[in-house]
């Protein structure tokens, strides 16, 4: 029943130099939960997804998607998908 929700959390978190522990404390989750979300082993609730997005000051669709994300280099340099 549960559908895979793709996310860019690990990349954004690394880019912003935020530890899992800090993010977890900020959004009221366990640090392991952040790890499970990053590896796609747990789909966050809308509430948690919005809290994470708010923490990074990004729209939720920048972090979570039902479709796999394109590589960032493709998006930045405009390469078309094969």
């Amino acid at each position: 029943m549960s559908e895979q929700v793709h996310n860019r959390l690990a990349m954004v978190r690394a880019e912003r130099k935020v530890s899992r522990q800090s993010l977890a404390e900020a959004v009221g989750a366990h640090y392991q939960t952040i790890g499970y979300i990053e590896r796609g082993q747990y789909n966050p609730s809308l509430d948690l997804a919005l809290k994470i997005s708010k923490f990074f000051n990004l729209p939720v669709e920048a972090l979570f998607s039902l479709e796999p994300f394109r590589p960032l280099t493709d998006e930045v340099y405009g390469r078309n998908q094969p």
Binding site: S19, Q21, G28, A29, H30, Y31, T33, G35, R39, L48
Partner: protein, 181 residues
């Protein structure tokens, strides 16, 4: 998890259950299975000694002493399982986050199913024994009921211990005590 203010008890329990100093004891599935197996064996032994102590008349105190001695490793094994599950069953509901709450519900559901099967097996055994020896159900009902009650109480812990996952290698483990929200 943070919508309700945590009490001092909650914070201390959270720190205790997330203390990583004993991580080596439950870092692999094999170690967790072994711990649960030891915990089951100790529970059975303590239960057996307790039954012997209360049912046998005029016996010396050795079963009670042995029971107290076994309680120490039993408590250590309980602590290891709780550490492996990060206090999934020990922490209060409002301390858990949404994933942990869902996990706790799954564990309790699985434990309930297993206890139901165990109860059915116990009832069947009691009925069959009663068919062979009419006095047997009366004689065994009380110890069996207590045994099933104990299993019903501890089963979620065993299930949680068996279903706990490895700490992923890429997870940054926080310093002990860094979880004081």
């Amino acid at each position: 998890m943070t919508t309700t203010r945590l009490t001092r008890y909650d914070r201390s329990m959270l720190r205790l259950m997330n203390d990583r100093r004993g991580q080596a004891l439950y870092s692999t599935a094999a170690r967790r299975r072994l711990t649960v197996a030891v915990h089951i064996a100790l529970t059975v032994a303590i239960g057996g000694l307790m039954t012997h102590f209360f049912l046998a008349k005029g016996e010396p105190l050795w079963p009670a002493v042995a029971m107290v001695v076994l309680l120490l490793p039993w408590m250590v094994a309980t602590g290891i399982i709780n550490g492996a599950t990060r206090g999934l069953l020990e922490l209060r509901e409002h301390v858990l986050d949404e994933r942990q709450s869902a996990e706790r519900s799954r564990v309790v559901t699985r434990a309930h199913r297993m206890t139901t099967l165990l109860l059915a097996a116990a009832a069947t055994a009691l009925l069959i024994t009663g068919g062979v020896d009419g006095d047997a159900p009366k004689a065994y009902a009380a110890p069996l009921l207590i045994a099933v009650l104990v299993v019903h109480w501890i089963m979620p812990l065993w299930v949680a211990g068996l279903w706990a996952q490895d700490e992923p290698a890429d997870v940054e483990t926080p310093e002990a005590g860094a979880l004081g929200h």
